[in-house]
């Protein structure tokens, strides 16, 4: 890969000779250093799961929030630099409030993510600011049905049936492609996404991790909320047991 940096990567307002904006690409790289985040749009809602890696046993459970809520029907999962993520969520909340003031109704998911994407994109144009170092997975359930979007540091916005980002995104994507999303309910998706994260989790490097999940579905009354802790614990235990069993089988085969 020619011209990694070599002076063209110092600011967002510089194109490289191949027409790339390296600063934005580096921002996307910083997302790859964070814990995996996955999302799935099911028949009755959307589920987002993030792998929250704790670097020390002193950290309290529930801190280092990666999952945030905007309005009643929209939830956001952050992958990448979490402080940057909080800025994005803050912006979402501002936009949602402004929309309500002007139009008198809750902002549709499609409009909110469009505004977020344009906001993020602006930071890739000017040299006196840097790009956001995080991706946002946005789950919404409104009159247009359940929707899942991902906004990347470049400002790229796409609607997904399932998506993954973070450390193990390639692996996670492969697992997600096997799911029959049209037939899954959110409850089933909670189990599947927990399984995906447990399977792609790197247990040698990040020993401590928590699963933070949000859903917005029929069961939650189309409100974005944390998935009940019992469900998460159940799903995680089931996934880890299955993984242990598979590892044991592998060991037995080798022996």
């Amino acid at each position: 890969m020619t011209s990694i940096g070599t002076g063209y990567d110092l600011s967002s307002s510089t194109f490289s000779p191949e027409g790339r904006v390296f600063q934005t690409e580096y921002a996307m790289k910083s997302v790859e250093n964070s814990g995996t985040a996955v999302g799935a749009r099911c028949s009755d809602g959307v589920v987002i799961a993030v792998e929250k890696v704790y670097h020390s046993r002193m950290m309290m459970k529930g801190s280092l929030r990666r999952v945030h809520f905007v309005e009643k029907h929209i939830g956001v999962g952050i992958a990448g630099l979490l402080p940057d993520g909080r800025q994005m969520v803050s912006k979402c909340r501002e936009e949602a409030t402004q929309y309500r003031e002007v139009y008198g109704e809750p902002v549709p998911g499609r409009v909110l993510v469009d505004r977020l994407a344009r906001f993020t994109h602006l930071y890739t144009l000017y040299w006196h600011v840097r790009s956001f170092g995080c991706s946002a997975l946005v789950a919404a359930y409104d009159a247009e049905g359940p929707q899942l979007y991902m906004v990347e540091p470049s400002g790229m916005l796409m609607r997904y049936n399932a998506c993954a980002t973070g450390k193990a995104k390639q692996q996670a994507k492969t697992e997600l492609e096997k799911l029959k999303l049209g037939e899954l309910t959110c409850r089933e998706a909670v189990t599947e996404l927990a399984k995906t994260i447990v399977n792609v989790h790197d247990s040698t490097k990040d020993k401590l991790y928590e699963l933070e999940m949000l859903w917005v579905c029929e069961e939650s009354g189309r409100t974005a909320q944390f998935v009940p802790q019992e469900l998460i614990d159940e799903a995680r235990k089931a996934a880890e047991d299955e993984k242990d069993r598979e590892d044991d089988d592998d060991d037995m085969d080798d022996a």
Partner: protein, 247 residues
């Protein structure tokens, strides 16, 4: 091209190199080509048709959420080639221009004037250091109230030109060659179906492959139906069939 003398700032911000070139603007053009997509637009007697490739590499993405065709005003549309996010910003600004013009003057903005506004804005980005040029070529078309169907191409350098047929993106040169042969005769005026089929055929030729309706986006405006519309997959399929039957 002497790389040695241009080791300074001329590659980083939009100032002149010793040879009088604006490297940053040239790199913006490269950004347009690097997406690997080609777009083509053709103007017929009573219509303008545009076609672009639709490449969604991720199976999990909802393809209806990715589009490079945008409506700018009732009867004006555009196809953008290059960075989709830069394109959305430019489309947003252009829509605002068109709406303000309509509000101020009570009639739809002339297509050429709209293209000029886009081009002037692009020029500003090539002259100011704090913002980079946008990596987008915007092909704007519409049915002008006075002049009929119009087609303009605006590029990152701030250059805008009216065309009978134009192309942008990775294979723009090959597409232009094909279109020049087809429309050699200055009096050649294509009717609606011929225009669409010329655009489709041009894309098929430069890609050297047939494509399915889901792999392209086609939009058009006609004098009879000036509202900017994106063709449905069934309509595209009908044209593809018509082309293959002709051959």
């Amino acid at each position: 091209m002497s790389r040695g003398s241009s080791a300074g700032y001329d590659r980083h911000i939009t100032i002149f190199s010793p040879e009088g070139r604006l490297y940053q603007v040239e790199y913006a053009f490269k950004a347009v080509k690097s997406t690997g997509i080609t777009s083509i637009a053709v103007r017929g007697k009573d219509c303008v048709c545009a076609i672009t490739q639709k490449k969604v590499s991720d199976k999990l993405v909802d393809p209806t959420s990715v589009s490079h065709m945008f409506r700018l005003a009732d009867n004006h549309g555009c196809v953008t080639t290059g960075s989709l996010m830069d394109a959305k910003l430019q489309v947003d600004q252009t829509r605002k221009e068109a709406a303000e013009f309509k509000f101020d003057h009570s009639y739809e903005i002339p297509v050429e004037y709209l293209a000029k506004q886009v081009a002037d804005r692009n020029q500003v980005y090539t002259q100011h250091a704090y913002i980079r040029p946008l990596g987008v070529v915007m092909i704007i078309f519409g049915v002008d109230e006075e002049k009929g169907p119009q087609l303009f191409r605006c590029d990152p350098a701030g250059y805008y030109v009216g065309f009978r047929a134009c192309a942008a993106g990775q294979k723009d040169q090959e597409a232009m060659n094909f279109l020049e042969k087809k429309l050699k005769n200055a009096e050649t005026e294509l009717d609606d179906n011929e225009t669409i089929q010329t655009a489709i055929l041009a894309l098929q030729t430069v890609l050297a492959a047939d494509f399915k309706p889901s792999e392209v986006e086609v939009s058009m405006v006609t004098t009879a139906k000036p509202r900017f519309t994106v063709l449905s997959e069934a309509e595209v399929e009908a044209h593809l069939t018509a082309i293959s039957e002709r051959d």
